[in-house]
């Protein structure tokens, strides 16, 4: 008797479980999107928070649900995107390092955004001009500026004051050299700890009135007088013991010097502004930022990533992806990402918001990057072969700055290799 009762109860449970969902009013299935991003810590939190906010507001209205997925560094993300494209399962929206956009645009992995931008009348003039250079391939928009940065000069003002220097920072290369000398002599710390980072080198090239590649990106300027001047300037400071150069593009070794106050100044992305403030607080020193000191002129590359949409999607998914990109780059969200991480405000209207203006009053360092961008921001080379040139450039920095190699012979050999292997030519 008992058994029959249990059996009946189970039968009812199973049948009702199977039938009930069908009986309830059918809610339309939301469009599900995946969003890939790079980097951890504050940047990761920012990405997760924004995706969550989207799901709770605009996403809820339009019935779109976004899942944010971490994919390592930019390079790792690009690799995975390639593999995903080959296997036919790409994310809907992804961040993309600005110099790589051309490659993916030309091969059809990502879609032009121009039709959507025109249709929804996005005010492109509201974005800072320097940021838009790497959003465009052949006159068509392929991305919108998202987490964008420039390099700036960070200074440990506690050490600067100890050395009797003006904590607002050096303005020219001559002053920079003077600062390094005084810091070393007065405090024993290095003036600068420098790693072999091409992105920073691009800034030095702009300041000498050149760029790492020729305007049509078919030749490298590694063996140009401007490049040699940069190599020689820092080599001299290294030889005198005022500057420490660490081999490789790994920023970790520089970070160790910063934390231990073994260096007074370092070049780094504005994206680490908030992080560096926290670090300074924990380790008991103060920091300030300023423009990268000028030589012939000021000048910096921009960096970071844009938001792009992949091509292998249905029309419905494309529409949803565009809504997500549009929302992510709106004024309010641009301001949120800016304040949360230190990446520059991508829109003029974002920088003009009262809460951001209040932030600038409290921490003027956030504004410096923006001014530098507005006045002196450049794009980055987009030739796919540039990644290979970067490796040569890094090797040259390692050789000259931290291994005492001869400048002229190293650079002419590097140039010969870049030309000989046709790194920048058509592949």
């Amino acid at each position: 008797m008992k058994k029959i009762f249990v059996f009946c109860a189970m039968l009812i449970a199973i049948v009702s479980a199977a039938v009930l969902p069908c009986a309830s009013p059918a809610a339309a299935k939301p469009v599900e999107l995946t969003f890939w991003y790079s980097w951890t810590d504050l940047i990761q939190e920012n990405n997760i928070n924004l995706a969550k906010m989207f799901n709770e507001t605009r996403g809820k209205e339009l019935n779109i649900q976004v899942t944010a997925e971490y994919q390592g560094t930019y390079n790792e993300l690009h690799q995975k995107l390639q593999a995903a494209y080959v296997s036919g399962k790409t994310p809907s929206v992804t961040v993309m390092e600005i110099a790589s956009i051309k490659r993916f645009a030309e091969s059809g992995v990502i879609l032009p955004l121009s039709p959507y931008i025109e249709r929804d009348k996005i005010d492109m003039d509201d974005f800072y001009k320097g940021l838009l250079i790497n959003c465009e391939v052949g006159g068509t928009w392929f991305g919108l500026p998202y987490l964008r940065s420039t390099p700036i000069l960070y200074m440990n003002t506690t050490l600067l004051k100890k050395a009797g220097l003006d904590p607002s920072g050096p303005k020219t290369w001559a002053e920079l050299a003077e600062y390094c000398k005084t810091i070393k002599e007065k405090t024993g710390a290095y003036g600068i700890t420098l790693n072999s980072d091409v992105w920073i080198f691009e800034a030095f090239m702009f300041e000498n009135g050149a760029a790492t590649l020729s305007p049509d990106e078919s030749k490298s300027n590694i063996n140009s007088p401007e490049s040699r001047a940069v190599f020689a300037f820092f080599r001299d400071l290294v030889d005198k013991g005022y500057v420490r150069c660490v081999a490789g593009d790994d920023y970790g070794k520089v970070a160790a010097d910063i934390m231990n106050q073994k260096t007074a100044m370092f070049f780094n992305s504005t994206s680490d502004l908030t992080y560096n403030f926290d670090l300074a607080k924990e380790n008991g020193y103060e920091i300030n930022t300023c423009f990268i000191p000028a030589n012939k002129t000021y000048g910096v590359p921009t960096g970071g990533c844009n938001l792009v949409m992949t091509s292998r999607q249905t029309d419905e998914e494309r529409e949803a992806s565009w809504e997500f990109i549009k929302w992510m780059t709106e004024t309010k969200q641009a301001a949120y990402a800016h304040a949360y991480t230190g990446y520059v405000a991508s829109r003029k209207s974002a920088a003009a918001l009262p809460e951001i203006q209040a932030l600038y009053k409290e921490k003027p360092q956030f504004k410096i990057a923006l001014d530098q961008l507005e006045l002196y921001g450049h794009g980055r080379p987009m030739n796919p072969g540039y990644t290979q040139v970067i490796v040569e450039w890094t090797a040259a920095m390692d050789a000259i700055w931290s291994n005492g190699a001869d400048i002229d012979s190293t650079l002419s050999a590097a140039d010969a290799k870049i030309v000989g292997m046709n790194m920048l030519g058509a592949k």
Binding site: N75, R103, T387, T394, A395, D398
Partner: protein, 320 residues
Amino acid sequence: MSDFDKVIDASKPLAIPIPRMAAAERFFRSTARAATPYIMVAPAILTLCVFVVYPILYMIWLSAFRWDMIGPKIYVGLGNFLDLFSNQDFYVVMGNTFMFVFFSVSISIVLALLLAIYLKAKTKINALLQGFVFTPYVISMVSVAFIWVWLMNSEYGLLNYMLGKAGVSGVRWLEDSRVAMYSMILVAVWKGVGYNVIILISAMHAIPNQLYEAAILDNTKPLKMFFRITLPMISPTLFFLTLMNIIASFKVFDQVALMTRGGPVNATNTLVFDIYQFGFKFYQLGYASAEGVVLMAVIAICTVAYFGALSRRVHYGAEI
């Protein structure tokens, strides 16, 4: 010939009647019998084909194309190999790889042999020491790389701190292009030697004790005992171990990627890391495949040469 022998006279067929079968059935049975072993090994062969043979053939095929993974494949014939052999860096990379293989394997094997002799006696302290020596082998390369990068940091590293106490000024372990490769070899030996030690100890324990007893009766000197008994008896193990070490060292990648990324100035760039760089950083899959083909050929040649040179000297089996 006894009666018993008559019963099981092997020279005559057994007089058991075999039931007659239809021709079709006989055919089926014999085919099934012949096919059984192939069916049995089919899963293994299939796995091998899908995961080993096919990728190798695909790599060889790919080496004749220029391809960036997403664009069209452009046929270039031997173009990638010509590019490869006209690239000076390739010879630097080859030199680095051979240097890494030669030093890391030879140091590791000799050191393992010495440690094995020292630690082979079955005592409690030796069991503990064997554990210590073996530990690095168990730790993931990622952890090992990070630990050593910090130990070898020229400003804050423990190695330089201790050298400083001893009056030697800062060595730039991983930043000086003349030193970096030796630092890499040091780490590789530290990580790999434990495995070799354990294998060699077990080989030494397998040597019959009578040989040593006989030698002792003859008043043989310990050194002579080592060269005349121990070494020949463990030679098959040693032969195998060295070969495995050589192949593994040729394929070094994780250590390079984590510790130096091939730098400074290409000083620690090895073949597999270079393949990765060309394939997944520069997106030149054809060039990377050509390099892969070269790596395969080099390992094959080295293995054959190694067999040719040493396999006759290996002493298999003890005739007591």
